[in-house]
Subunit: 476 residues, 2 copies
């Protein structure tokens, strides 16, 4: 039994349950509470902190879900035993140089079709309010905002993004670690330009995001497939020290394409491995805002005590892709090299949308939009799952549907997903074949089905058509 001494700030925009969550997680990561050690009962902690029991229960629930904590019936809550001990005492690391490139191809194809990947609910976007905001900023654009701008981005937007990431994603950063770029694609390309050199090896999840793979190869670096299981990337499958990898690309919040979220133990093991091997970690947090079984997980970056993680986010999924605004959060030691590379890439980002986004974030309108969309996407996810059960029963096995804007559905052995996707396209359905997400020969056959951009009605109809395509296919 222990006392946690969690400092709470009631004036902070960071809600109490998140402050408690952060405090307990930090206590675990700092080793102030050890694996197997028992935590105070929620009622006791609530009394200690002088808060109601609700935020404490909420924080414990999240920490249990993320695997930081374990519970035994009747004997309370314990710090999880499968956190690697050595990590809790780890110390500083020295960074490396490099150059390279980045991701995209899976995002091509019919740009509004049913099951289209990575598409938000454009039909539910607050067009009028958005257009008014854009119009006001277009009228108010100053001379300085029309001239050459800061390669790091517009100051107020960088501050607003940092604030949002600190509170919503548990990212640990100063405002000036945020660099605004033209989407997550440009972010990866820029990160790689600073980190990678031709011939470098980069670990990627297997299966993983095809665009990231293509881009790493385009940089002259080589991709090394690292298998993914139900807990995320298999850290034990990474090369033993001294590891040859210059960087590892991961999607911890919502693995692309399978959808699993990396457990706390895996996250800590990955960070420890990266620290030991002076390897950089590229965290692509492309759609973590949308989680349906619990609150969004904290970012891997927030658990990193050694400055090895470059965090990448985008506004494409929350607002709309044609904005072309994304961002990087980089370790301070990389900042000047990154800005130099950005200057050589495209100088800086257009100012109008940056000013618009800064206001949208500061006003709280952005967070309200995320919350509203989360409920909407839950409905769409359920419509898709219902339709798949009704029309494709027995032929598709959904791997994971806890989060994001798509689900991965596995096909029966022997059914060719590339051929199926081709036949689906003939019926106006645009899915991505799971097999296209593998580097190696051993590939599972399946479909990646986006649901964010389609109404429940449209999804029901699309799953009906998909069912017919599946049966005609299997009837051959």
């Amino acid at each position: 039994m222990t006392t946690l001494h969690l400092p709470l700030d009631r004036a902070s925009p960071n809600p109490l349950h998140r402050q408690i969550y952060d405090g307990v997680r930090r206590a675990i990561l700092d080793g102030r509470v050890r694996p197997g050690q028992r935590l105070p009962a929620s009622r006791t902690l609530a009394e200690e902190l002088g808060v109601s029991r609700l935020p404490v229960l909420s924080a414990y629930e999240q920490l249990l879900h993320e695997g930081y904590l374990g519970a035994r019936v009747g004997s309370g809550t314990f710090v999880s035993r499968d956190l690697p001990d050595d990590l809790l005492l780890a110390s500083g690391a020295s960074p490396r140089r490099g150059r390279g490139e980045s991701e995209a191809t899976s995002r091509q194809g019919s740009n509004l079709g049913p099951f289209r990947m990575n598409l938000p609910a454009l039909d539910q976007f607050p067009h009028a309010a958005w257009a008014r905001l854009v119009a006001r900023h277009a009228h108010g654009l100053s001379h300085a905002q029309m001239a050459y701008g800061d390669p790091a981005g517009l100051g107020p937007l960088r501050a607003a993004i940092a604030e949002y990431l600190r509170s919503a994603r548990a990212v640990r950063c100063e405002d000036d670690q945020v660099v605004v770029v033209a989407g997550s694609q440009a972010a990866l390309r820029l990160a790689a330009a600073v980190l990678l050199a031709p011939g470098d090896q980069v670990g990627v999840e297997e299966p993983g995001y095809p665009g990231a793979r293509a881009a790493i190869r385009a940089s002259g670096a080589e991709v090394v497939a690292v298998p993914v299981d139900e807990k995320g990337i298999r850290v034990e499958a990474l090369p033993i020290p001294p590891g040859p990898l210059r960087a590892v690309y991961v999607t911890p919040s919502h693995q692309f394409p399978l959808g699993v979220s990396m457990t706390a133990a895996r996250r800590l093991a990955l960070l420890e491995w990266a620290h030991r091997n002076d390897t950089w970690v590229l965290e692509d947090d492309y759609d973590s805002e949308y989680r349906y079984v619990s609150r969004p997980l904290g970012a891997l970056q927030g658990m990193d005590g050694h400055g090895r993680v470059l965090y990448i986010g985008t506004f494409s999924k929350v607002l709309f892709p044609a904005l072309r605004v994304g961002y990087l959060v980089v370790p301070a030691v990389l900042l000047s090299r990154l800005l130099e590379a950005r200057d050589a890439l495209d100088l800086f980002s257009p100012t109008l949308y940056q000013a618009v986004l800064a206001e949208l974030l500061d006003s709280g309108g952005f967070s309200r939009h995320v919350r509203r969309m989360r409920g909407l996407y839950l409905e769409r996810r359920n419509a898709l799952l219902g339709g798949l059960a009704r029309h494709c029963g027995g032929m598709l096995q959904v791997a994971n549907a806890d989060a994001g804007l798509h689900v991965a559905a596995l096909l029966p052995k022997g059914m060719d997903d590339v051929d199926l996707v081709r036949r689906m396209a003939e019926r106006g359905l645009t899915a991505l074949p799971l097999s296209a997400c593998y580097v190696g020969r051993r590939r599972r056959s399946g479909l990646l089905l986006g649901f964010g951009g389609s109404t429940p009605r449209r999804l029901a109809e699309a799953t009906r058509v998909l069912g017919n395509v599946l049966r005609t296919g299997s009837a051959r």
Copy 2:
């Protein structure tokens, strides 16, 4: 004496004088009229064509200025004798592959200071009309325009740019050869990504654009300095066949930084050299819209019979830099590779400004703006030249002020321009040192003074301050 058979199209938006100019130039390039051959008198040609004498005189004047034609008093107009004969009979070339990068650093610094380079007249920009246009398109943005877009750009904008370049810049291209990117920096980076591989050698003008140099080096390619004289890049100084250069970067319309425009003979020689050596030519046409001693010169690309030229343009100088919209015109053979590289770089450009620009070009508003600005910049150039003569007389020698938004002014031998620029900065003046534009050790000392972004009054005051700085400097 000869007959030219020029096909004129009175329905074309392409004005008569430009059609005649194009026709005669084409006749010369195709070898239908030979060096030394006499052209019909303007009156005779006007009668042949059934037009007034004015457009013919205008076309001849331009061709004389560009060096295609020579004139001898009393004996009429002749095709220039210093056009390399062999070029006129040259045949098709086979292209090469590659990967690499691009330009920018000189564009940094105080973003509105007097003498700031590459800055248009933001004080004279039609803000209200622009904002109304942006607002209307923001309201009208369709779902398809908010989703993932075409890596080549918005169709209507590509067509509008192609039309503009064909008529205003004598560029020869189909609409689908135009690729819309995030400014000329991104254009160069993208072109290099397709053309250059690490270790490749790229010829650059000496002196030349520092940003291009830095970017080429960042790609792993090496820069080879090629001297520039009063006729442009010295083609005879390029390596003899088989040349080791993968590409040559040039600014033919308005050499950066010295401001000379490449003569027709040099252009033809460069194209012939590039054809012979399978070398790519990167034409950066960054501010050719503004020419004060004659109409803007036709683009080098329009003279290229072998598809060796990649043409790069930007809206930063005509509208404003924070738009971040530029474009490439690429040989058809490179298109698919270029679009693949663009997909890996940043997917596609934001849609809103693309839609706005398409309307602005189609409506003729863009061309009207260019014409209006040309007169304005002429005043500003004259204010700068007047101020330099009045306040800096004898200490600065202006190299060339025929075009663009800046002038290069040479300093007396032994005066350190880097030190001078530092002392100018202390007085709020932001100039670029000429010596920073050299690769080699032999450097001329001078100042690059932008005039586009400052009013005549401000330029008069700034030159007065500059005069004081110069005298205190030389007094040391």
